[in-house]
């Protein structure tokens, strides 16, 4: 790359050129002013020569040619340091003007940041940068420390009109008027002089002028005297096609014709004049001077001797003046001459020569500590290196060195530093080192704020142009620059830079940056009075939760202030304050589903769906045939959009979040809705889409206007710092048609209206009811088809307690109301937890509670006893004639029992059909939801063990613990369910409950005997019941002797569900139950056969009931208890609003048959007298056996004698040890404590018996083993006999009882029920005494 072709090269070729000092008389100026130009201006365009060919020979002998050359013309008065103040002022004006211009040009939207577009520099950087930089460079001109600004020639111009032109020429170059450079001796005052006589052709012919010229030639020499005649075009002003002056003069008004009197000849004459001047005089003059100076320098400084001398001499000078500027150098000092030599060589483009001289002088200045001169030389060295295009590093080093040195000088070197920096930057730019250039720009920034602003902005562009482009740095420096602009009141520039920066920062999540940029742009726009744009930017920063509280307050107050200044309520589409939590958005509407409470509406749809599944008539999914095409279309349309009913509110729950720490008042929160009649719905759809895309805000404004076809609710609230509020908004359509919810609007602080569109911003919706989520286009979710008003039942459950103790039994009232005039029919109801809530009968309403629970003396409702109304399916159909309409509500009793402790959600769904057939919706459901907290109350447990006194008698231990913290209860009654268990107390109630109460935390135990009263051997549907005493009062007999009937509604119903519940628990563990169930199944099949003959009076439901009943019965060896307790009235915690009256605790499937289905009892004398002297004693015993199972059992009794040796015992052992493997054979897995049938005890038992020395052996004298078949539910007696040989006490437990049930071919491998067992006899002590 040719360095001369780079921007810097071009600049240097223009700026570092020989200076010609022009001195003219006023008459000359006057002549020129006719053309609207000064003398200097007239000449200037012809000072740059692009097409000359001048041979140059400098120090070396080799000549070279210069093709381009330029002269700089300055008036003598201008050859001095520019006035800084004036220059600054001028620059500022330039910046301000350009600011205005650019600002007005720039359209208000921010250009999108794009890497492609920013590839060319010219396009992006403002053009005035060039001008600004040039001016800055010029501010440092005419310094005495560098020679290229020193005039090389002087052009003296005198008009032919002037008196005594020759003496005027002499006067003009008077030392008094000369610039300070020449006067002070900084440069050689003997410079080349050229004498120009200017003649105005309008003043007359050239005769006089020629005369003067000859005179001049005589005086000043032929070659130096010239004549220029101008203004030769007479009369008519000439219009020049491309006016050479136009580009020169900035402030030229366009209508002014520059050079209007200059004919083509005149211009040519000027051209020739200047060309002659440069090529024939100035260049040769400079050549000559270079050669001269070079000789001098060689003589004094070149060569080893001179160098040594110089070094010595400099050393000696060191202790001299040490001022900041260093020593002053006269123009004829060798240092100045070297510098002049270098500069001249540079200007004549002999860079090698220039460089060698600069180098030479550089060290001298450094030693002399002439820092400014040193920096100047370094600067030139850098430029020379650049122009030579060699040693880039060296060039940059020199520039940096110069720059730093200038900076060190402080204020003195300020302008020079700036100029040096700019050159350096250009140098870096020419080599594509934009990043480095940017850092230099950054370093140029000095005291002057305005300058640094411009420099920073230029730096930012450099970052953008660097490869890879550093957009973040670009943004940062733009912001820095913008801040500086702001400091010197260039707000428009500041806005411009910030807006450019915004293109970088837009979309980033660097919150502080975004806030800063938007806030300041907003503020500045507001300062300019452009409030609309200001508000637009300010809205971006409202949700600044990360900022400190004071900043938040500042932002908000500024924002409100700006909005206030706009003078109207501002409407913003995406107002971020408060934040709307769109994921919390919930639309609650009622089509065929209606809700009793908001909690019911918030319950998952799936839960309701499963509850209502078999209650709601299912519509056929596919239409039957093509004839129904029309209806299909309609239904499709219906299914696509949601349905709501006129007059019923559609509710929308939205969460508003205040991200700030300050309180924000929000008012007038309403839904934006759109209503259209069904006919124009489709047409408006199209229209609406286009409207949306056009202008959102306007669209919303239209929509928010009052509309008579629907009503919207309005909510006001105030959000504290960080608060979140759930707001329920509603819209109530009044007419049939289509209603669409578009969004929500609210007013912030009473001035700004915010909108939030549900659809456009968030296509994904969390709609609760939408069943066809996937299929629905987003628009449809907020679209409702409004159908005409249909009845809606309102319902509630009265007096349902929020808190209850476990076991609490209550009667509740369900009240249903139908406010509309249309009747509804076919009511059904389903409850999710029948264990807690069951539906009563209509007649229960009249009964008094809890009196209705007690047993009446006359058992008139015996049918209820035998066939309790247990509903296996939970759908309850109200009587057919039930119809609710108008004022009178329908009340229906419900029974509530708190079954288990915990938080229970009870769901109820009521189905009803609408009699009006024409409606789209034919049925509706009312959904109710209640929460009940159930607290633990009594902990009841039972333990049953067989009695040893009587067969079929059991001992029951009841343990009751009061688990409450403060309540006292009265344990009132224990009942067994079913008719075949009779219970009675072992002790009178007084002894158990002396205080009649169970205090909090207290535990008691009491004992009962339980007797199986069933005497039945055949399987029959209706078991004949003899009244047995199945209820026991646990309180002393008193006046109000009420016995609760556990076999009546609702206790029996609750018991049924308890049984179902507890059965699940039981079945998970191995139990004996299955045997019974198995039996019941057989029984059912038998019953079918028997009853099937009787005809068709049995419905399947009844059969099921029978079978269930049989199954209940089948559990022959289990017993169910109900414990009824009552709270003591005075002790109830007042926290419970409604104290409980009756509490029931149910215990089911308590097994009595702990030893298997066979129970036995050894019966015989306890004490006996015998005279052993006569004979041994034979004692007869009886064993009673009872088979409680339903099949014939095979029972086998083995007696063991002690002295029969180990053989038999061993065999037992062998069998016993096999049991863990569950092998076929006799085994027993019953873990009954008192019988000790584990193999260990079997082993130790005989040993223990033997070790008792006192016990004399006895022998079983009857048959050693007896086998019998025992019919179901029957008993048998087996005689046993033992022989005793001496008096003593004998333990007659040495026998085993094996039993086996036939497998009936049902050989299920997974049958957990026991088919066989082996039990050891229990202890029976017999004392035989010697009779006296």
């Amino acid at each position: 790359m040719d360095p001369a072709m780079t921007p810097l090269g071009k600049m240097l070729l223009e700026e570092i050129t020989p200076v010609v000092m022009v001195i003219s008389t006023p008459a000359v100026e006057e002549t020129c002013l006719k053309n609207g130009l000064s003398f200097l201006q007239m000449l200037t365009p012809f000072c740059s020569f692009n097409n000359i060919d001048v041979p140059v020979r400098t120090a070396s002998d080799q000549p070279y040619r210069i093709h381009k050359f330029k002269l700089r013309l300055f008036y003598g008065s201008d050859v001095k340091k520019p006035n800084l103040k004036v220059a600054e002022q001028q620059l500022k004006q330039v910046i301000t003007d350009s600011g205005e211009k650019v600002f007005s040009e720039k359209c208000l939207d921010v250009p999108e940041f794009n890497h492609e577009v920013t590839s060319s520099e010219d396009r992006d950087t403002p053009s005035w940068f060039q001008f600004f930089n040039k001016e800055l460079v010029r501010m440092a001109s005419f310094s005495d420390h560098e020679a290229f600004d020193h005039p090389v020639a002087c052009l003296l111009a005198v008009s032919s009109k002037d008196e005594h032109p020759i003496s005027r020429f002499v006067d003009l170059f008077n030392t008094n008027k000369l610039p300070s450079l020449l006067k002070d001796g900084a440069m050689d005052p003997k410079i080349l002089k050229h004498y120009l006589l200017v003649h105005d052709n309008q003043d007359g012919p050239v005769d006089r002028a020629s005369k003067i010229l000859t005179e001049m030639r005589n005086t000043f020499g032929t070659s130096d005297s010239l004549l220029l005649s101008i203004n030769s075009s007479l009369g008519v002003p000439i219009k020049h096609q491309d006016n050479p002056w136009a580009s020169q003069i900035y402030d030229a008004s366009p209508n002014q014709d520059l050079g209007c009197f200059l004919s083509i000849d005149d211009i040519n004459e000027i051209k020739d004049l200047m060309q002659d001047l440069s090529s024939k005089h100035i260049i040769p003059n400079m050549e000559q001077k270079i050669r001269l100076l070079n000789q001098q320098v060689s003589a004094t400084r070149k060569g080893f001797k001179n160098q040594i001398k110089n070094l010595w001499w400099r050393k000696g000078k060191e202790d001299g003046v040490d001022s900041l500027n260093g020593p002053t150098y006269n123009f004829n000092s060798i240092e100045s001459q070297i510098r002049v030599l270098g500069d001249y060589a540079f200007m004549l483009r002999d860079y090698e020569l220039a460089l060698s001289n600069y180098r030479l002088i550089s060290t001298d200045y450094k030693i002399d500590k002439a820092w400014k001169r040193y920096a100047g030389v370094q600067e030139m060295m850098g430029l020379t290196y650049f122009m030579l295009d060699q040693s880039r590093k060296e060039a940059e080093y020199c520039m940096e060195n110069a720059f730093n040195t200038y900076l060190k000088l402080g204020l003195l070197g300020q302008q020079n530093a700036t100029r040096c920096g700019l050159w350096w930057i250009e140098m870096l730019k020419a080599r594509d080192l934009y990043k480095e250039a940017a850092t230099v720009y950054f370093r140029i920034c000095g005291e002057d704020i305005l300058h640094s602003a411009v420099m920073l902005e230029q730096a930012s562009y450099c970052y953008l142009l660097s490869k890879p482009s550093m957009s973040r740095k670009y943004g940062f420096h733009l912001v820095l620059s913008g801040e500086q602009y702001k400091k010197c009141d260039q707000i428009k520039h500041a806005i411009r830079t910030y807006r450019s920066a915004l293109s970088v920062f837009r979309g980033t999540t660097w919150s502080y940056i975004n806030d800063h940029v938007h806030f300041h742009i907003g503020q500045w726009y507001a300062a300019l009075g452009m409030y609309d744009v200001a508000v637009k930017h300010m809205t971006e920063i409202l949700a600044c939760s990360h900022q400190s509280k004071t900043t938040q307050e500042l932002f908000l107050s500024d924002f409100l202030q700006v909005v206030e200044k706009t003078g109207r309520t501002f409407e913003v589409t995406k107002l971020q304050l408060p934040v709307i939590n769109i994921s919390s958005l919930k639309v609650i509407f009622e089509d065929h589903r209606t809700f009793g409470s908001s909690s019911a509406a918030n319950t998952k749809e799936g839960l309701w769906h499963s509850l209502e599944e078999d209650m709601i008539p299912s519509f056929p999914a596919a239409k039957t045939n093509w004839l129904e095409l029309q209806s299909k279309l309609i239904s499709k349309k219906h299914t696509l959009s949601n349905v709501c009913v006129a007059g019923e509110a559609v509710k929308v729950n939205i969460e508003f979040i205040n991200p700030l720490q300050i309180t924000v008042p929000v008012s007038g929160v309403t839904l934006i809705c759109k209503y259209s009649t069904s006919s124009d719905a489709l047409a408006s759809d199209e229209k609406e889409l286009s409207v949306k895309s056009n202008n959102e805000v306007d669209h919303f404004r239209d929509m928010s206007s009052y509309n008579s076809s629907f009503l919207v609710s309005e909510v006001d609230f105030s959000l504290g710092g960080g608060e979140t509020t759930m707001v329920q908004l509603s819209v109530t359509p009044k007419e049939v048609g289509t209603l669409e919810i578009l969004g929500v609007r609210w007013k912030l602080s009473g001035t700004i209206v915010g909108f939030h569109n549900f659809e456009l911003s968030h296509p994904k919706k969390n709609i609760v009811k939408g069943r066809r989520k996937a299929k629905q286009p987003p628009n449809e979710k907020f679209k409702f088809m409004v159908i005409k008003s249909i009845p809606k039942i309102q319902g509630s459950v009265h007096s349902l307690p929020g808190k209850a103790y476990a076991g609490d039994l209550r009667r509740l009232m369900l009240e249903l109301k139908n406010p509309s005039e249309f009747p509804v029919k076919n009511l059904k109801m389903k409850i999710s937890h029948p264990r807690f809530l069951i539906i009563g009968n209509q007649e229960n309403v009249k009964l008094e509670f809890p009196g209705c629970l007690t047993k009446k003396t006359d058992s008139e409702r015996s049918s209820a006893h035998t066939n309790p109304n247990i509903m296996s399916e939970t759908i309850f159909s109200f009587p057919v004639d039930t119809s609710i309409q108008g004022e009178t509500p329908l009340s229906w009793p419900l029974w509530f029992r708190a079954a288990v402790p915990g938080d229970i959600s009870i769901y109820m769904s009521i189905y009803y059909e609408i009699e009006d057939i024409s409606s789209v919706i034919r049925y509706r459901t009312l959904r109710l939801h209640y929460n009940v907290q159930v607290l633990p109350s009594l902990d009841v447990s039972f333990q049953i063990s067989p009695s040893r006194l009587r067969i079929q008698d059991f001992l029951v231990q009841l343990d009751v613990v009061n688990k409450t913290s403060s309540e006292s209860f009265q344990v009132y009654q224990l009942s067994s369910i079913g008719q075949h268990w009779e219970i009675s107390l072992l002790q009178p109630p007084d002894t158990i409950f002396p205080s009649q109460t169970l205090m909090a935390g207290q535990a008691i135990s009491c004992f009962f005997t339980l007797k199986n009263s069933r005497r039945l051997s055949t399987v029959e549907y209706n078991i004949s019941t003899t009244p047995v005493r199945s209820d026991v009062l646990l309180v002393p007999q008193c006046s109000q002797d009420l016995v609760y009937n556990s076999n009546n509604v609702p206790l029996v119903n609750f018991h049924h569900y308890e049984r179902l519940q507890q059965k699940v628990l039981h079945e998970s563990a191995p139990s004996r139950l299955n045997c019974g169930i198995w039996l019941a199944l057989i029984a059912v099949s038998n019953t079918f056969i028997v009853l099937g003959l009787k005809g068709d009076e049995l419905s399947p439901i009844q059969i099921l009931r029978i079978s269930l009943f049989m199954m209940d019965l089948g559990d022959l060896n289990t017993v169910d208890f109900v414990l009824i307790s009552r709270p003591l009235n005075n002790s109830i915690n007042p926290g419970l609003s409604d104290p409980p009256h009756v509490m029931s605790h149910h215990a089911c499937h308590l097994s009595t048959a702990s030893t298997g289905p066979i129970s036995w009892l050894v019966d015989g004398p306890q004490t006996l007298h015998h005279d052993f002297s006569t004979s041994f004693c034979e004692i007869n015993l009886k064993m009673h056996l009872y088979n409680s199972s339903g099949t014939t059992a095979f029972v086998h009794i083995d007696t063991i004698d002690f002295d029969r040796g180990g053989g038999h015992i061993n065999s037992v052992n062998a069998v016993s040890s096999a049991t863990p493997d569950n092998q076929v054979g006799w085994h027993d897995v019953t873990p009954v404590n008192e019988l000790k049938v584990t193999s260990n005890t079997v082993e130790t038992q005989p040993g223990k018996a033997l070790s008792l020395e006192s016990v004399s052996p006895y022998i079983w004298s009857g048959s050693s083993s007896t086998s019998i078949h025992l019919e179901p539910m029957s008993s048998a007696e087996i005689p046993l006999q033992i022989c005793v040989f001496s008096p003593g006490t004998y333990d007659l437990s040495n026998y085993f009882l094996n039993w086996k049930l036939p497998s009936k071919g049902l050989g299920n491998s997974d049958e957990t029920g026991q088919h066989s067992g082996k039990c050891q006899g229990y202890k029976y002590f017999l004392t035989v005494l010697q009779s006296p």
């Binding site: 970052y463 890879p468 550093m470 957009s471 973040r472 740095k473 943004g475 940062f476 420096h477 912001v479 980033t508 999540t509 660097w510 919150s511 502080y512 940056i513 806030d515 800063h516 004071t550 900043t551």
Partner: protein, 197 residues
Amino acid sequence: MATTACFIIVSRNDIPIYEAEVGVAAKREDAAQLHQFILHAALDVVQDLAWTTSAMYLKSVDRFNELVVSVYVTAGHTRLMLLHDSRNDDGIKSFFQEVHELYIKTLLNPLYLPGSRITSSHFDTKVRALARNFGKLFLLPRDLTAMVDFPLSIVLCTRVISRRPCLESYMLPKVVPLLVLQFVMLTDLVLDDQLFD
């Protein structure tokens, strides 16, 4: 003293996922945005620099006036950036390494979505504690000898020596004799460990 220190974690998508002002200087109102600006701009430099070296710690990559930006780039191109006004390469390096470890632990949390903001208060307190520790270290090496005659500095010196192996090489000859002298006199002071906090 580390008067200004702003620590920030930038995800691979150039989103700041954790920010903390860990300096001890009183917070100026515009400091937060200035720090963000500087760190954000420094990403440009990191972007180039990260691929030139295999080391994770990039030392100081950028500066703005007195403030220096040190960067640590993890393998997943998450950048830990620290803006600070004091030079202590070792301290900062180990600070970064510790924070990197913490960050990895955060990543291992199955509930943390990589690239999302780190809101864990545990992480925050840990980072601040680390910054405090290294903040002390920022202070010491430079002025150690000047402070030796001041009794408290003895205590601090012992701490520093125990923590910073590099210090021993050049500091010990000067410090240790003084230490031994004053250690005896100020035993109780030395034992009073609470002086540090």
